[in-house]
Symmetry: C2
Subunit: 343 residues, 2 copies
DNA sequence: ATTTGAAGCTAAATCGATTTAGCATATCTT
DNA sequence: AAGATATGCTAAATCGATTTAGCTTCAAAT
C-alpha cells in the first residue's frame, strides 16, 4: 500500500466540480448564510464523507488565528494531584475539540516564564496556569496582553484575574475544628515556605479556628522547603513532638506522604502517639493500618471550572470580567483522628 | 499599556531595510550558504534581538510541514506510572525544542483511533503510543503511512515497528526466582485479561521460572478485567487463598495496590499470611507496616529511549530500520517476602 | 572590450485553508 | 420594459513564514 497523499480542500472541490470557496463554506456550516442550494450542500457533504476529508488544522490556524490549543502549566505533572487535574482537563478539552499542551514549572519562576513564552509562541488560544512564587508580575503582564488566562489551585488576591481553586481557609478550618471536637489540644500544621496564597489561606484557616476556640497560644506552624522535603520533615516533626503536639495537619499531599513516612521511620504511631490529617486523596491514606483522615478537594469541579472559564474567555475576548470558582472541601474522616481519651 | 501587535518577519525586514528573504535566511543560519555578508548578518541579528522577534510557528509549520510537535498516547495520564513517564518525555522533548501533546486512550481501541487521527491532524511530526488490545491493525497502517512512530511499554512482535519497553520476562523471572529462593512453593500471579505482549511476557517469565524449578503443577494465573478491578480482585484472591497460595505477584502497579487493599480488607496479613510482590514503585509500598518487595522499571531510560528513537526517525524519514530498546528490571527486596520458615 | 563568474540581495511562489468582493442569471416591481 | 432584488456561485486576497529562481553590480579572465 503506497502512501496516499492527504486529501485537500481542492481535491474535494474538483471532485464535486465547484470552487474551493463553496466547499469551505458548506463545511463550516455557512451554506444558508451564503445561499448555497440545499442540493449542492448535500452533494458536498456526500463527497466530503466519501473522500474522508478533514481540514488541515495548521492552515486553518494560520488563516483564522485560532489554534484550538490551550496551554496548561502545572508545577509537576507527575505529582498525583496535578496528574489527576490534567486528566480531567484533557478529557474536557477533547470534548470541546481543544488540544492541551501540558508543561511543568517545578515551582520555578524562570521555567514558568520560559514555558509561557513557548506556549504563546505555539499559538495557544489561552492558558491555565498554576502560578509559582514570584510570578505575580508576569501573570499581570499576560493579562495586560489580553491573553485568555485562568489561574488554577492558587491566585493573586490583588490581581483582577480569573481563577479556580479550593476554599483553602475552609479546608483547614474543617480539619482543625474536627480535631478540636475530638479533644486534641496541641494541634500543629506543617506547611511549605512559600508566599503563595493557597498556603497562607490554609494556614489562616487553621489559625482562625484555633483562635476561635481559645487555643491561640497552641498555634504551631512549621514551614519547610519544597525541595529537600524529606530531610526537613524530620526536623519539623522532631520539633513538634518535643513541643508535645498531639495532632498534625499536613497542608499538601506530598507533605502528608512524607510526614507519614518520617513518622513511620521515627517509630511514632498514628494515631496512638499522634493524630494525623492529610491533604488530597491518596492510595497511601487508605492502605495504612489505620487509614488517614484527609481533606478532599473537588478536583473534578476545580478542573472543569478552570477550563469552562477559559473557553468562555477565549470565545468572548472583549469580556474582561473576573470569573472565580471556589471548590468546597470535604473532610473524609478515617481512623487517624479518633476521639481522644480524656483521662 | 496597550496590546502590542506581534512582531513579524516583515517588521524586522523593514527595520533593517532589507527583504524578508534575507532576514529569514539569516535567522535560519543559512547566511553562508546564500552568501549574505557578515556585516549584514550581524546587523540582522542585532535587530532581531532588539525587536525580540520570534517566528510564528504556525506559519513555519504550514510552509515547512514540520510542527515540532510530538503526540503521546498513554492509557491514562493520571496513572502514576504513565504520569512519571510523561514527565520525563516532556522534559526531554523541551530540551530538544519539541512540544508534546498528551492524551489518554483508557485502553480503548475506538479512543485510540480517534486520538491518532486528531494528533495527526494537529500536524504532529511523530507519535509515541502505548498500544491497546486490538490496535495492531491501525498501528500497522500508521507505519505504512510513514508516520514516525515508537511504541512504548508494549509492542507487537510481528510488526517491524520500533519500541521501548521493559524486559518483562526477566522482570517476573527475577521475582519468581526470588520467591522460590526464599522457600515459597505455591506462587501465583494476578494479571489482566489482555492479549498485549507485556502481560503475556510477564506471565511467561513466571511460568518459565516455575517450570525450571519443577513447580509447573503449582502454576496459578488469575486474569481479571481491567475495568471493575476492585470487585474481581476479591474473587481472584479468594480463589488463590483457598488453593493454598503462599505468595502472590501482581503484574501491574494498579493490580498491586488493589491487591494490597483487598487483602487488607480481607484481614489477610502480608507477609504473615501471604508473601507479596508488587510492580513499579509506589509510595504505598514503602509506607506499609511491612514494606513491599517490588519490581522496579528503569522508567527514565525507557522514556528517554522512546523519544530518542522517535526524534531519530523524524530526522531521517528514509531510514525504516526498527530500533528497539529493552530496559533492565530491578527487584527491590523489602519485607513482604521474608525467608519462609521451613518447619 | 566583451564575456564569465562571483557576491549580495530580492520578487514572487508556495503551504492549505477562509473570507471578501463581485459576477452572472433569474425573478420581481412598477 | 427597465430597474431593483434575489439566487447561486467563484476569483483572488489573505494569514506569516520559507524557498526558488533570478536580478544587479563589480571584479577577473580572455
Amino acid at each position: 500500500m503506497t502512501k496516499e497523499r492527504k486529501i485537500l480542500l481542492n481535491d474535494v472541490a474538483k471532485a464535486v466540480g465547484v470552487s474551493k470557496t463553496l466547499v469551505s463554506i458548506v463545511i463550516n456550516g455557512k451554506a444558508k448564510q451564503y445561499r448555497i442550494s440545499e442540493k449542492m450542500e448535500k452533494r458536498v457533504f456526500e463527497v466530503v464523507n466519501e473522500m474522508n476529508y478533514s481540514p488541515n488544522l495548521v492552515a486553518q490556524n494560520l488563516r483564522g488565528g485560532k489554534s484550538q490549543l490551550i496551554g496548561v502549566i502545572v508545577t509537576d505533572i507527575s505529582n498525583p494531584f496535578y496528574s489527576m487535574i490534567s486528566r480531567i482537563i484533557e478529557d474536557k478539552a477533547n470534548e470541546l475539540s481543544y488540544t492541551v499542551l501540558f508543561s511543568s514549572s517545578d515551582e520555578n519562576l524562570v521555567n514558568t516564564k520560559k514555558l509561557i513564552k513557548v506556549l504563546i509562541n505555539k499559538g495557544v488560544d489561552g492558558l491555565i496556569i498554576v502560578p509559582c512564587d514570584g510570578s505575580e508580575e508576569i501573570i499581570k503582564n499576560l493579562q495586560e496582553d489580553n491573553i485568555p488566562l485562568v489561574l488554577l489551585d492558587r491566585y493573586f488576591p490583588n490581581l483582577e484575574i480569573s481563577f479556580s481553586c479550593l476554599d483553602n481557609k475552609k479546608a483547614t478550618a474543617l480539619a482543625t475544628q474536627h480535631l478540636i471536637d475530638r479533644g486534641y489540644k496541641k494541634i500543629a500544621v506543617v506547611s511549605y515556605l512559600t508566599d503563595m496564597n493557597h498556603m497562607s489561606d490554609r494556614v489562616a484557616g487553621y489559625e482562625n479556628t484555633m483562635i476561635k476556640s481559645g487555643k491561640e497560644k497552641n498555634i504551631n506552624i512549621k514551614r519547610i522547603n519544597i525541595s529537600n522535603q524529606r530531610m526537613e520533615m524530620y526536623g519539623a516533626l522532631d520539633y513538634l513532638l518535643k513541643e508535645g503536639t498531639d495532632a498534625i495537619i499536613c497542608l499538601t499531599n506530598m507533605l502528608s506522604i512524607n510526614g507519614i513516612y518520617c513518622l513511620n521511620e521515627m517509630k511514632v504511631k498514628i494515631p496512638e502517639d499522634i493524630a494525623f490529617v492529610g491533604f488530597n486523596r491518596s492510595d497511601v491514606f487508605n492502605l495504612l493500618h489505620s487509614p488517614i483522615t484527609y481533606i478532599k478537594q473537588p478536583i473534578e469541579q476545580i478542573a472543569n471550572e478552570a477550563i469552562n472559564i477559559l473557553i468562555e474567555k477565549i470565545n468572548h475576548p472583549g469580556n474582561l470580567k473576573k470569573s472565580i470558582s471556589i471548590g468546597d472541601p470535604e473532610l473524609v474522616i478515617q481512623h487517624s483522628t479518633p476521639q481522644k481519651s480524656l483521662w
